[in-house]
């Protein structure tokens, strides 16, 4: 273990694993008669990748397949260039996993728990203990590290799960709904930690979440899942679209007919709250809302509200899931 003040063996900016961290080929998993994953083929690049989808989309099943917990019925998976079927232990040595549900080893305080997890991952006892203290400070549990985990709040339990996942300095981190049950302040801090890990500490990570803002804040790439299949994937910026604009629009008149007209003109329309629809106008035409007013006049509907917006991950998600 490098001591404080010495040059670390691996500088923080040193790349960990530059290639695709996960490659799935025709992956299918069936539970009874239902296909939880259906012919999934995807490549997860290095960096921070969000795994997005509604509940039941297959995100957790995919993560558990990557960990080797679930044996696929068909297809193959490679994690950091190692086959999950043949080298599960070599993979688990190099990954960290933060599960969705509350998980801890009973009867341990935080520092013993994290050090124990470090030892289970192969760290010598003294190194594991030293790193346990460090990562507990990093996740913001430094002052509470001698408390029994069973006395922790939900937010603290989320942090300790992150600490045990990073104590052995993994090449790839799987985070399953990391902000579940956290208050807004704790959630922001957790997202900052994840962002810092991905963008300043060069930890590759896959963040599974159904919360679009979480993924948008922490990740560069996204894989959108729906009903056990990949709906879309790619860099978030590219998926949001570089040209075109989103307008929030409220009209008075036959809304259903107007939406079908908008769609026939090639615009994407998604419902939002309180009769407000989000209309994506692609290309240069999107710079001016006049196209919407012209269409409204032609279809004899009144425009009651129009406000330019920017494409968000929500639009990408709605587009991808809607298309399916």
């Amino acid at each position: 273990m490098t001591q404080l003040g010495e040059a670390p063996a691996h500088p923080l900016d040193a790349p960990r694993f530059a290639g695709p961290v996960v490659q799935c080929q025709n992956l299918s998993v069936r539970f009874g008669k239902n296909w939880a994953l259906n012919d999934v083929t995807a490549v997860f690049p290095a960096g921070a990748v969000g795994l997005l989808g509604p509940n039941g989309a297959g995100k957790s099943t995919l993560l558990k397949s990557l960990l080797g917990f679930i044996k696929p019925d068909k297809g193959s998976i490679k994690v950091i260039d190692l086959d999950v079927a043949t080298s599960p232990l070599e993979i688990r040595e190099r990954i960290g996993y933060m599960p969705e549900s509350d998980s801890h080893i009973p009867g341990m305080n935080a520092v013993s728990f994290v050090a124990y997890c470090g030892q289970l991952s192969g760290l010598p006892a003294t190194d594991a203990m030293q790193r346990a203290h460090e990562v507990l400070y990093y996740v913001g549990l430094g002052e509470a590290r001698y408390r029994n985990i069973e006395t922790y709040s939900t937010g603290m339990k989320q942090r300790i799960k992150l600490a045990q996942a990073i104590v052995h300095d993994p090449d790839l981190l799987f985070l399953d709904e990391p902000t579940n049950g956290m208050d807004p302040k704790g959630r922001d801090e957790m997202l900052e930690l994840i962002h810092d890990l991905a963008h300043h500490k060069n930890v590759n990570l896959i963040l599974s979440s159904h919360l679009l803002p979480d993924v948008e804040f922490t990740c560069d790439h996204v894989v959108v899942m729906d009903k056990g299949t990949i709906a879309t994937y790619g860099p978030i910026d590219a998926l949001k679209g570089t040209t075109g604009r989103v307008y929030e629009l409220r009209i008075k008149g036959d809304e259903a007919r107007f939406i079908s007209v908008l769609r026939s003109e090639g615009y994407e329309v998604h419902d939002s709250d309180e009769d407000v629809m989000r209309v994506f106008v692609p290309g240069a035409a999107g710079d001016n809302p006049k196209v919407l007013f012209d269409l409204a006049a032609r279809e004899r509907v009144q425009v009651r509200h129009v406000r330019p917006s920017v494409p968000t991950l929500e639009d990408v998600f709605a587009r991808a899931v809607g298309e399916k």
């Binding site: 670390p8 599960p99 998980s103 289970l120 192969g122 790193r131 990093y138 913001g140 430094g142 930690l193």
Partner: protein
């Protein structure tokens, strides 16, 4: 200061090879158990029969009038039979929560996300119970043999009863393996260690009561296979070269014990998984 400014460093030290995680688990489990005062008290009680037998051997070796107390091969068989009670209590105290507590705290997915197979997890947990059970069966029995040689000042008894070395080893192993695998299998079936303890006690008391009831009604003891405890007694008699006490082939009794151990291992292999799938 933002939390993340407090530092996170790359790790440049050594890593143990794959396949050693179960040892970490066993070490931690043993340390946790021996830190409990109640358990230490239980261990003191468990070693009390050894002290009594050691005094018996001392008296027999040093006083002619008490030569009737001199140990025989049967003495060691009786000693291990007596230790059966402590095997029961230690199994419940140590074993009931071994997997049940992990299931309650959802720890299985944490363990199995580390470089560790489910077989290693089971081995790590079994080793904890195995070590404590060996320390109340095999260890005191062997020490008793050693004590006899020391007090007698010769190895005559040991050389005349050389079969005792494999007999003590084999019978202790049967006792320990049966108790530890059965308890661990039961522990994997529930999230409550108390419920597991009740199930274990129930299993042994109920099967013994059933066997004794049938024996009383029919007047025959061929229903030994119904009771793991009685089956173990039957095997013990054969191992210690004594006439079997029940009217059942010792091989059937042995098969009963083997089936129970096999079934327990099968249950463990089904229950120890990183994810529970309900279809």
């Amino acid at each position: 200061m933002p939390i993340h400014d407090q530092g996170y460093r790359r790790y440049g030290g050594t890593r143990a090879g794959i396949g050693r995680a179960w040892q970490v688990m066993t070490r931690a489990g043993v340390m946790t158990i021996i830190a409990k005062r109640q358990f230490l008290a239980l261990m003191l009680f468990a070693w009390a029969p050894f002290v009594v037998r050691a005094v018996q051997i001392y008296v027999a070796a040093n006083f002619q009038q008490a030569s009737f107390l001199a140990p025989k091969g049967e003495t060691f068989r009786e000693f291990l039979d007596q230790q059966g009670a402590f095997v029961f209590f230690v199994t419940i105290y140590v074993g009931a929560g071994l997997i049940a507590n992990d299931r309650r705290a959802n720890a299985l997915q944490l363990y199995l996300s580390k470089p560790m197979t489910s077989a290693e997890y089971i081995a790590g947990k079994l080793a904890i119970l195995f070590l404590f059970l060996v320390s109340v069966t095999f260890l005191p029995a062997m020490m008793l043999l050693l004590t006899q040689a020391m007090f007698a000042g010769s190895l005559t008894f040991v050389s005349n009863n050389l079969y005792l070395l494999p007999a003590i080893t084999l019978f202790s192993l049967a006792q320990v393996l049966l108790a530890s695998t059965t308890m661990l299998a039961l522990s994997s079936l529930s999230k409550s260690s108390r419920f597991v303890a009740v199930m274990y006690a129930g299993l042994f008391f109920f099967t013994t009561a059933l066997f004794n009831a049938l024996r009383g009604i029919t007047g025959r003891s061929s229903f030994v296979w119904l009771s793991p405890t009685a089956s173990l007694e039957q095997i013990g008699d054969v191992i210690f070269l004594l006439p079997p006490r029940y009217q059942l082939s010792p091989s059937v009794a042995g098969l009963t014990v083997l089936i129970l151990i096999g079934a327990s291992l099968y249950i463990l292999s089904r229950r120890v998984r990183g994810v529970e799938i309900v279809t």
